[in-house]
Symmetry: D2
Subunit: 200 residues, 4 copies
C-alpha cells in the first residue's frame, strides 16, 4: 500500500505498558500441570493488578504463544483454552476489548512480532512483565527489553514457574543481570512508577 | 512456556511458497481508487494462479497490513473489507481455511512479523510474491527476501501499482537489482519452478 | 559482561545523521566501471556536503559493505580500496577519525548491523542518505529507515547508479513511495533541516 | 552495490561453530575483578578447547562487545585490552588470523550483528558457546540461538560468571529451559558432536 499513516496509533496517555505473557493457554505441554498449579496461586493477584493498571490508563498488551496457529484465529485459540484444563485460570484473564493482542511464534515477546512497532507508536519507556513463565518467556523477553533500552518491572507475585525455587532464582537473576525491578505488585505504587517513566 | 516443540509445524511438501500481500483491504487510503481499478484488472489472473499453486501443494501465505488493528481480529478485518468499495476485489481472494494468515504492521512482509519463522519451519527456498502493490510493499518485501537468500518470483500479471508505468518500472528495477524473475504467471511452469527449488 | 552502561554514548548535538554508504570499495564487481564513472561525477559534491554537515555538528556514519571480510579489518579494507581502480574516488571520502564506521553484510544499512542501536543512542530523528548506489543499497536502506519512523533525505547530487536514468527513476520512486525528500545538497539548508528535526 | 555475490563465503567444512564471547576485554567494569579471577581459572581449558576445535575444522567466531567503539577499530580494541589488568587472560585467547571477528553492541551475539548471516553462509546447525559471562551474554545468546533453531552446547568449564554459584545456576537454567547441553569440554567428543550435527 502507499502510505502507512493509516496504521498509526496515538501515543499512550502514560509511557508505561503492562505485558501479560502466555496466559491464554491449554497448559497442554510438558510440566503443564505443575505450572497450572503455580499459576492458579497468583491468578487473583494478577487480575487485581491488571485492573489497577487499566484504571490509571496503562495500556495492557497480551503477547501470547500462537501454539502453531499460523492463521491468526484469536477467537478459536481463546475458545480452546477456555475449555481446556486451565479454564479457571484463563477465564478471569481474558483480554478486555480494548486490550492489545499480539501473537508470538517463539519465546520472546519481541522476536518476530510487531511488539516493538507498537511500543514505539505508544511511546512506551517502561514495561511491566507478567504471566507465564518467569524462567522462560519472561526471562527472554526481559533481556530483549533491556537491550532495547526499556525500564523493566517483573512484579514477583504476578508470574510463576514450575515451582517456587525456579521462580525465585529466575527473578533474582533478572534483578542482578538485567536491572529488573522485582518488587511485588502489592507494594508497587503505580502512579509513582508512571511519574518516574515520564521524567526519564 | 517450557518447550516450543508444540509450536513446530511440518515442512511444506514443496520448498516454494506463494505470498499474497495486502489484498484484504478497504482501499480507503490516498490513491485507493486508482489502485482498485488496476487491482480489478489482475484479480482473475491471481485467483487462477492461486488455484494452480494450491493444486501442486504450494502453501499459500497471506501477509496483510493490520490497518492499525493491534487486536488480531482477523474476522473483523475481513468483514470490513468485504463491505467496503473494493468488496468485489476482496471476495474471490479471501483466504481458504488452510491458507496461512500473518498480520504485518509496516510495508515489508518480513519486518516485525513471524514470516521468517514460518518459512524456516516450512523449509521454503523460493518465494512467489503477488498482491498490492508492486512498487511499495512488494518491492520492500522482495529486497528483504533477497537479503535472506531466497529465490524470488514476482509474476508481472499478479500484482499492480497505481498505474501501468509505475508497475512496469518497479518490476524492471526488481529484475535488475534484486535478481527477481518477473515472468507472467501464465508463462510460469510451476512444476519446473518447484523442481528447480528442490535442487537448490 | 555485567552492565552495558560502558557501551553507551552521548546523544548527538543535533538529531540528524549523515549516512555515507558503500563508498569504501574496490569497484571490483559487475558494472563497477559504469558506477565508478558516475561516482566520480558526484564525488566533489559529496565531499563538500560532508564538510558542511560536520561543521554544524551532524554526525557522519559510514556504513559499508564488508566485502566478505568477516574479521572486521577496517584498515585492510581501506588500504585495498585505495589501491584499486577507484582510488581517486575513495581517497577524498576516507572517514575522519571521529566519524562512525559500521560494516554491513548485505544491502541495507539496517539489516544485521548495529546502526539502529547507534541511532538510538545518538537520538537521531532524520537521516540523510548518500553514497552508492541509489537504486540498490540506498533504496533498501531508505525503505528500512521509513519503516522505523525516521525522516529521510536523499540529496540527488550525492549518490548515483549505473547511469542517470536508473538514478533518476530510483529517486522518483523513493520520493513517491517512501516520502523521501530528494532536494539536491546545493539547495538543502542544513540549519533549517536540523531545526525541523528538533521540532519533530 | 549491485550484486551481493562477492560477499558470499563458502560453507564451513563442518556444520558446527565455536563462539568465543567477550574475552577481548579490559575488565574495566563493575565486578571486573571478580570476573577476571574466575576467568583466569578457566583460561587454559578454553585455550585447549579452541585448539581441539580448530584441528577438526570447526570455525571459530569471536563475538565481542564493541565497548562503545563505533569505529570498528579492532586492533585498537585489542591493544587496549592486552595492556589492561586482564592482559594475562586476553593474550593466549587472541584471535588467530583466520578466526572470524564480529563486534556486538549489546549483550546478545545475535542482536544487531551480522552473526546470523555468517552462520547462514557457513551452514551452521550447532553452536558451542564459550567466554564471558555465563549468566549474562551467554545466557541471552543461548536463548537467541534456541529461537533460531540451533543446537546449543555451553561446556561448563569454558565460561564463568562472578562466582561459582551464579555460574552453576545459569548453566542449570540453560539446560532446563533452552535445551542446552552443558557437558564439560573435557568430556565432549568433538568428532561425535560434529557427526550428530551433520545428521540433523
Amino acid at each position: 500500500m502507499g502510505s502507512r499513516k493509516h496504521a498509526q496509533i496515538s501515543p499512550s496517555p502514560v509511557p508505561v505498558a503492562l505485558l501479560i505473557v502466555d496466559v491464554i493457554t491449554t497448559f497442554g505441554f510438558p510440566d503443564g500441570d505443575e505450572i497450572l498449579r503455580q499459576a492458579l496461586l497468583m491468578r487473583d493477584t494478577l487480575v487485581k493488578f491488571k485492573a489497577r493498571a487499566r484504571q490509571i490508563g496503562i495500556p495492557v498488551l497480551y503477547v501470547n504463544d500462537n501454539f502453531g496457529d499460523w492463521r491468526s484465529e484469536k477467537e478459536i485459540l481463546m475458545g480452546r483454552c477456555l475449555e481446556a484444563k486451565g479454564g479457571e485460570f484463563v477465564r478471569p484473564l481474558m483480554p478486555d476489548s480494548d486490550d492489545y493482542f499480539i501473537l508470538k511464534p517463539m519465546h520472546s515477546a519481541f522476536y518476530m512480532t510487531p511488539l516493538e512497532v507498537l511500543l514505539r507508536h505508544l511511546k512506551i519507556d517502561a514495561l511491566i512483565l507478567t504471566g507465564l513463565t518467569s524462567n522462560s518467556c519472561l526471562t527472554v523477553t526481559a533481556h530483549d527489553a533491556n537491550m532495547r533500552g526499556l525500564n523493566i518491572y517483573v512484579p514477583r507475585d504476578c508470574s510463576c514457574a514450575r515451582n517456587f525455587e525456579e521462580h525465585s532464582q529466575a527473578l533474582n537473576q533478572l534483578g542482578k543481570m538485567a536491572g529488573v525491578n522485582t518488587t511485588p505488585s502489592t507494594s508497587l505504587k503505580l502512579p509513582n512508577l508512571v511519574r518516574k517513566a515520564q521524567r526519564s
